[in-house]
Symmetry: C2
């Protein structure tokens, strides 16, 4: 890499900032609360200064790349979605230049869209996918709105979003099941997960299998502590089934996750007999932004 | 019918009370707020008096039948679930006698359970099913937790619950989609319903198709007013697909509903090419309780 790099994964509620040296190593990192929803109109140069101004003073020669919702309609500047199939070059070339307070230029990366009759979009995840360096494969980025992404011949060909994390939270916290659910103890986690995965394969579907969490507890077959693990396994199982209906069965799932999500998706893939490899979101982002920056400054 | 009948559909939050004459006609009806959750321990005789004591004074010779959550663990007395397949006689015979303030006896009807690996239960809906007078058929009772019920040779053989109404409410009111959703106007209802039904058949499943409500609006293909109709049609479509996977395709759906639910499920059945007949919940309940009472007093 010819130059150092300041890279922000700038989302709705938070920004993650990295200072990356010429050798490609992360020299400094920071998580800031200045998500784009907290930035007033015209306030992005000042917000950048607050988040990462000191990085720039340390390395005034750095390239600056901004990924995520900062490129949305409500962000610094709208960087229109690049339609799939999309190459790394196409992503980099669709970056939009903005100017910092001191006149330095930065690049706002675009998101991706895919349209197969239903329209789907992502912003920020495309950079993590680039960071995986896949030539062929299927990647999974679990979360509030999980993304599954297909890469062929080095291009991002298709992807799909799943409301898994959000619907889990709604059911666990706000549905009739919330009244039955307790903190897991003993073998609640394994019992709930096993029953939830089994329920994901039942013919009547999610709306029926979710209700069964209640009746299994009322029937004394499952403790209240198993309700959360049951719902998690049911929803992840449905997500995996949906992905396979869409993309076929992956040879390996490239899972971009850490912590509890890596554990729960890893367990789901083991149960489903799907080989998988884990990359942390930070590693994927840093690798992705370096690859995109190399194209930008080339 | 040899005697008049006082019948209560006594649920968690409400009680519906009917006074039915010897000729089988409803002479009086009332909806009361004394659902079982508002009745203190030992307070059921007094609650009955408040809800329907005047019915009994008008017709002191009436048989008294109580259906619904009043027969649950938190009700007046627990009338254990009757396991499917269940005949009308088995339901009536499992009624439990209770005593009113003046010593008059009343019968608390049981609910139904079905166990095919997952456990499912109902309380109250069984009385409406009996009221349909089916010998063979599939009935649909839509709502917060929709019930689909199979009747063969006059017995209730199987049933399944779907969290359709509750998950609709969670998505419409509390999810990220709530921020986009507006009151339907113009052709929002028809556009949303058409897209939602189509989405229900997409291979990636509910978690993916629900998210598409957001992206379809962001892409300008659907107005915010279409979000609610989209979600409703998507969820009802998924429910219908689940039922067909479970019970096969019904020749006719016996739909027990009125108002908006009758309209939205009726529209869904038309789109799916499923013939259907509508019975109102009141008509089904009154007919069912009369049939069960005839067995009780026989």
């Amino acid at each position: 890499m010819p130059k150092p790099l300041i890279a922000l994964d700038w989302g709705t509620t938070r920004a993650r900032a990295f200072l990356i040296g010429e050798d490609g190593r992360v020299m400094d990192r920071r998580i800031a609360d200045q998500g784009i929803q907290s930035v007033p109109a015209g306030g992005f140069p000042a917000a950048f200064e607050a988040i990462a101004g000191d990085f720039l003073r340390r390395r005034p020669d750095a390239a600056i790349v901004l990924a995520g919702m900062v490129g949305s309609r409500n962000g610094w500047v709208e960087a229109p979605y690049v339609a799939c199939p999309a190459s790394i070059e196409a992503l980099a070339d669709a970056g939009i230049a903005v100017t910092l307070e001191d006149g330095t230029r930065a690049t706002v990366l675009p998101g991706l869209s895919w349209d197969d009759g239903a329209f789907d979009v992502m912003r920020g995840e495309e950079t993590l996918i680039v960071g995986l360096g896949l030539n062929e494969g299927i990647a999974c980025l679990p979360g509030t709105h999980s993304k599954w992404v297909e890469v062929r011949a080095g291009r991002i060909t298709r992807f799909a979003s799943f409301m898994t994390g959000e619907i889990y939270g709604l059911l666990r916290q706000h549905s009739i099941l919330a009244r039955l659910a307790e903190e897991p103890s003993g073998d609640d986690a394994s019992t709930g997960a096993a029953r939830g995965f089994a329920a994901a394969a039942r013919p009547a579907g999610l709306l029926n299998a979710a209700f069964a969490a209640r009746t299994e507890v009322l029937a004394g077959r499952m403790g209240g502590g198993a309700v959360g693990p049951y719902l998690s396994a049911l929803l992840v199982g449905q997500e995996i089934a949906g992905v396979q209906a869409l993309f076929g069965r992956p040879a390996t799932v490239h899972l971009v996750a850490d912590g509890a999500l890596a554990a729960s998706y890893g367990a789901a893939f083991e149960t489903a007999g799907l080989p998988f490899q884990i990359t942390t979101p930070e590693d994927a982002f840093v690798a992705g932004v370096k690859r995109l920056a190399a194209r930008l400054v080339a």
